[in-house]
Symmetry: C2
Subunit: 335 residues, 2 copies
């Protein structure tokens, strides 16, 4: 019950100083006599004082929080990013406000506007739908932005990308090196940069190996398990010959393996499969899934650090592209 909020005023009275002084010690301002500082601190302790967040935010026009928009709150990929971002931020006394964009323009726009209305000091966005112009505008309007998996020239230093093209290339190359030539691919939505780049890598690898590109072996899906399953079923139904599939995400690969199995095909004996992202589950699947590892935690870490730098107006390290790495496991064998 004893729920009287103790304010800076009470502390001031108790310590026999002005509110201004209390505020000063609260914010670690220089030029306060040690003796006084001590007295104030003691008063705070005794009263159990805690500053009111809203007052502070209102008075200094800074919220000490940064916004994070992910495509989805569930799932491993963004889960890992959230974990890392949150850890970095809390360590620095910042709070992380999470919103989901769910891949639709309206939702993404609403989420961003919401965070803006909450006056986040910066935002980390993973967005497919917002346009370059919109993003640049937001960034210029006073709330700096860190972009995950986008590449906008004007603010390239604020973009964190993974080398999807090389990843797609290496995944396909890996299949080719194992003797496969009829290689299908199931991609994420083409609105998504990652999906496009991975596909591009796939084409390049084909080309470099003088394998003709066959559109009928390319299916667009949605990065998720059921989507991967459906796409694979469609592929099977179409009746084209293929001995390997490169999936644009592990989740789709998992769905794909199921579809393959249900069609009486065995992985990897009949069809080799490789995924992308390398979710922590892969090595526990059966067969263990080969995949391209994206260092998700690193990305979360980097994004958070950059956001913080932006808030403090510090210069950024130069733009960078995170490397993805081939993880060979059991789902790919030589043909």
């Amino acid at each position: 019950m004893s729920n009287k909020k103790v304010t800076i005023r009470d502390v001031a009275a108790r310590a026999g100083v002005s509110r201004a002084t209390v505020s000063r010690v609260l914010n670690d301002f220089p030029g306060v006599k040690p003796a006084l500082r001590e007295r104030v601190n003691q008063a705070m302790d005794e009263l159990g004082f805690a500053p009111n967040y809203f007052s502070q935010a209102l008075a200094k026009g800074r919220s000490n929080s940064i916004g994070l928009m992910v495509r989805s709150l569930g799932g491993y990929f963004f889960g890992s990013i959230m974990v890392e971002v949150e850890e970095v931020l809390t360590k620095k006394g910042f709070h992380c406000m999470v919103c989901s964009g769910s891949g639709k323009y309206e939702a993404e726009r609403a989420a961003v506007d919401f965070m803006l209305s909450r006056q986040v000091d910066a935002m980390i966005l993973s967005t497919d739908c917002l346009s370059d112009e919109e993003l640049i505008k937001i960034n210029q309007s006073g709330t700096p932005v860190v972009l995950i998996s986008r590449d906008i020239e004007e603010i390239r230093d604020q973009c964190i990308r993974f080398d999807d093209a090389t990843g797609g290339y290496n995944a396909t190359q890996h299949l080719i090196e194992n003797g496969h030539r009829d290689i299908a691919t199931v991609t994420g939505p083409m609105t998504n940069r990652d999906a496009r780049s991975r596909l591009q890598g796939y084409r390049k690898a084909l080309e470099d190996n003088d394998i003709p590109y066959r559109p009928e072996l390319v299916l667009e899906s949605n990065f998720q398990v059921p989507g991967g399953k459906q796409a694979t079923e469609k592929l099977l139904a179409a009746g084209h010959k293929f001995s390997a599939v490169f999936y644009g995400s592990d989740e789709m690969a998992i769905g794909g393996v199921q579809a393959l199995n249900q069609a009486g095909l065995s992985v990897p004996d009949d069809v080799s499969v490789i995924g992308f992202e390398d979710v922590p589950l892969n090595e526990f699947l059966k067969p263990q899934m080969s995949s391209m590892r994206i260092p998700v935690s690193d990305i979360g870490h980097l994004a958070a650090m950059r956001a913080l730098s932006l808030v403090d107006q510090e210069p950024l390290d130069s733009a960078l592209e995170v490397q993805v790495e081939l993880m060979e496991r059991e789902s790919v064998i030589a043909t």
Copy 2:
């Protein structure tokens, strides 16, 4: 650049009324002449006015946000809960502030204190470490609390539980009905209510079928994939005979299957396995994993609704326990 924040003052000037009136239409107060109301609204639009969140919160001592603490930001289980909670809340104009407790007392306490300092209007907590007393105290201090998977008499209506005991019972019973008698179990941490109840159900089922309880077949783990794997390896190493394992979570079951496979044992031919939770991945695994389905989305929904009711001081529906359901798939066969 045009970054002048437009305030209620500007709107008032533009509409030729007092600030109070603007505030009234802003908050949908009755007793404002339609004509005026219209004029004010128009002024707001023209100026692109948006109320300052911090001022509002400060003035009315209410933040329009509720806090959600989960055990982990990653993973399907809490992911689904977050998704649902967020959806319900945004629909009602509330924001959801997510924090992770990570299963350690210090962290949980810090997260809760943080949310309190941010003056959330209510909290949804999934906590193992905080004591009943602490929770009750928080609840009485003005920030109502909804508890996921706890059972505290004094605030039972604010507790959302799933029927773990019955779930554990039915899972075990299912194994027994398939002819298994040497049934091992890998549980979650015993600090966790769910884990304890599931184990209790397991024991009860054994008892009802006159199968002696053998402590050497019971291993405590941590709900996660690697934990399940290690526990299973330990079980194998101990050399006790068993033909089935009941895992306290799907993730542990997945790790378990891998350990089993690596030991040359096949699931379900050599060992039957059943999990708990029924993560959306289960039906895509091979073999498809039998499990006890917890309706996670329902839980998130319920929790959010209850939190909202508490904020509005509405009466709550009576306490409820969500049912879990057996999902028979491929990982259990008759011995």
